[in-house]
């Protein structure tokens, strides 16, 4: 007799394996999705570097925005992961997963983690391009691995948001609309492109509850500035976000099946 926890863990790993197998068969999506972030770095980053209008604390602007761009690209992957769930709802896959021994929250968390893995693969493609563009990363492999763990944690959380949205918007069209409407505002209302202090006060409050702000801060500390003084707070904020959204998504997931 196996416990539900064991079943749930196994389902999570099976979901990760599924994503990896899909990626092995077809990587086109990962490459096409890399184009936009690379343009952010190569065009927006290079041009704004010349302007020198944004106080970055002595960091070249292209380096400054690299963490935000990496996060944006991974979050794109996560947020549109909900589309897979919508598709699986239209097919019979979700019904089948409900009849598997694992708990329902394991299905949600497993899918979110699997999406996180996919998102990290996405970031891994952009990473060498950033090096080619002259971005100087902190030359410490532990810091880099830690940064990718942060990317993974945030992506998992956003995938859970996406599953939550998918359970409300049961068609692809509605989902696409909301997905688009979610990502760019989150990106602009964070410290990804400029320090929070430059924002109007109202927007500063939005930035403070925006999980992306903490993620950018953590990744920037680990990859670019080497300043880890906020890391504990940032990671704590990300974990709180993950736990909350996993719980909400697991509860709302029931709705998706009926």
């Amino acid at each position: 007799m196996t416990s539900t926890a064991e079943d749930s863990l196994r389902e999570m790993f099976a979901m990760i394996e599924l994503e990896m197998r899909r990626l092995r068969h077809d990587r086109t999506e990962i490459y096409t999705r890399a184009i936009q972030p690379i343009l952010w770095l190569a065009v927006f980053g290079s041009v704004m570097s010349e302007v020198r209008g944004i106080p970055t604390g002595g960091i070249p602007y292209i380096d400054y925005i690299t963490p935000g761009v990496l996060l944006q690209s991974t979050i794109f992957v996560s947020v549109f992961y909900g589309l897979t769930i919508v598709w699986e709802r239209e097919t019979g896959i979700l019904k089948r997963l409900l009849v598997a021994p694992a708990s329902r929250s394991a299905t949600v968390i497993g899918r979110s983690i699997a999406s996180g893995v996919r998102a990290v693969v996405q970031a891994l493609i952009i990473f060498p391009v950033a090096i080619l563009l002259g971005v100087k990363f902190v030359p410490n492999p532990i810091y880099i691995v830690a940064a990718f763990i942060v990317l993974f944690l945030v992506s998992g959380g956003f995938a859970a948001i996406s599953i939550f949205v998918a359970s409300l918007m049961k068609t692809r069209e509605r989902f696409m609309g909301l997905g688009q409407a979610l990502i760019m505002p989150l990106f602009f209302a964070s410290n990804a492109l400029y320090p929070i202090e430059l924002m109007p006060p109202a927007l500063q409050y939005v930035a403070l509850v925006n999980p992306l702000t903490y993620a950018v801060d953590a990744v920037r500390g680990l990859l670019i500035s080497g300043d880890l003084s906020n890391l504990a707070v940032d990671v704590a904020a990300i974990l709180v976000f993950d736990v909350l959204i996993f719980a909400v998504a697991s509860v709302s997931f029931k709705k998706i099946i009926e």
Binding site: E6, E11, A14, H25, T91, G92, V99, A100, P101
Partner: protein, 329 residues
């Protein structure tokens, strides 16, 4: 003997209004192939989703091998296989990879995984396509892969929701041949929904017909057809023979004798054809033949017109059925 499936007074109401199931009492014996028939929207899929623990009934009880599907859902899930109506495999990986991922999701022990996957592939005749991407499969192959995935757990009950919907006749036949062969070997109880009458007729041991959330008729395919009391034996006389007969004398007497037989409800002569209405043709036929022989009547050909399962379905679930009566809506 414990029943494979047993429900009593099962109801399901959606959003407090739409009544999908309205008091379903059902029992399915072990190792039986059970067909569940009903028009679209009659509650077939709802019942299957309750039995497979996907959602709870509004009231009533359902048990699989004695285990309550609500209270002991986890145990029920571990012994059933389920194939939903819609596609339930991933199209962008191979057939074998689908089985591997499902075997892990369903918790097949690592030591048995390879063997179970091989068994499922061969049971469904997928050896040649297992390494291909599923998006290159035909509809019949995809369906067989979906069934193969359900076989990985060696289920005691296999639930199939419209297993052959949208398949061409040869693909349907292939699916059923694989299922029948598997069934012979493994003694699994098979519960399937369908609205293909011929499938229910050929492959099931027992049938229940549901209409507007209620079971309106159940029994073996033979019992259901006989329940229409409509079987007709048609005897054609040799036409030259017929002309030589004295129609008013001999034929009238023979006709009277036929009408008096047990099991015969009526008989009528139409030209050179004698129509005999019986309840159970298989048992009535020898009596009829014997009676005609003793009257010295020879005939050229006998045919029986049986009510088909389509007739049964239309009678009990069709628009003229009285299924709606008194459900208090």
């Amino acid at each position: 003997m414990t029943l494979a499936i047993e429900t009593s007074g099962l109801t399901k109401t959606y959003n407090g209004r739409t009544r999908a199931l309205d008091g379903v009492d059902l029992s399915v014996d072990q190792a039986e192939v059970f067909a569940f028939l009903g028009p679209n929207g009659s509650g077939k899929t709802t019942l299957m989703r309750i039995l497979t623990t996907q959602f709870r009934p509004t009231s009533g009880e359902a048990r699989a091998f004695g285990l309550d599907v609500v209270r002991r859902g986890a145990e029920v899930r571990s012994m059933i296989g389920y194939v939903p109506q819609e596609t339930s495999v991933w199209l962008d990986i191979t057939g074998r990879e689908n089985l591997l991922v499902y075997s892990k999701i369903y918790g097949v022990p690592r030591s048995r995984r390879v063997e179970r996957i091989e068994d499922a592939i061969s049971a469904m005749g997928l050896e040649e396509v297992a390494e291909r991407m599923v998006k290159t499969y035909s509809g019949g192959m995809t369906r067989r892969l979906e069934i193969a995935a359900a076989l990985l757990v060696k289920p005691r009950i296999l639930f199939l929701d419209e297993p052959t919907i949208g398949l061409d006749p040869s693909a349907r036949k292939a699916v059923w041949e694989s299922l029948t062969a598997f069934k012979r070997e493994c003694e699994t109880t098979v519960f399937f929904n369908t609205h293909y009458m011929d499938e229910a007729d050929h492959y099931s041991d027992e049938i229940a017909i549901i209409s507007r959330g209620r079971i309106v008729k159940s029994g073996t395919p033979g019992e259901l057809k006989r329940s229409l009391h409509g079987e007709i034996l048609q005897l054609r006389f040799n036409s030259s023979h017929h002309q030589n007969q004295n129609q008013n004398g001999f034929d009238e007497r023979a006709l009277g004798r036929i009408k008096d037989l047990d099991l015969v409800r009526d008989a009528a002569l139409c030209g050179s054809r004698l129509d005999i209405f019986v309840e159970d043709g298989e048992r009535a036929l020898p009596l009829v033949i014997e009676a005609l022989r003793s009257e010295g009547v020879t005939f050229e050909r006998i045919s029986t017109a049986r009510p088909t399962l389509d007739d049964v379905f239309l009678r009990y679930a069709g628009p003229l059925s009285s299924g709606r009566g008194g459900d208090g809506r």
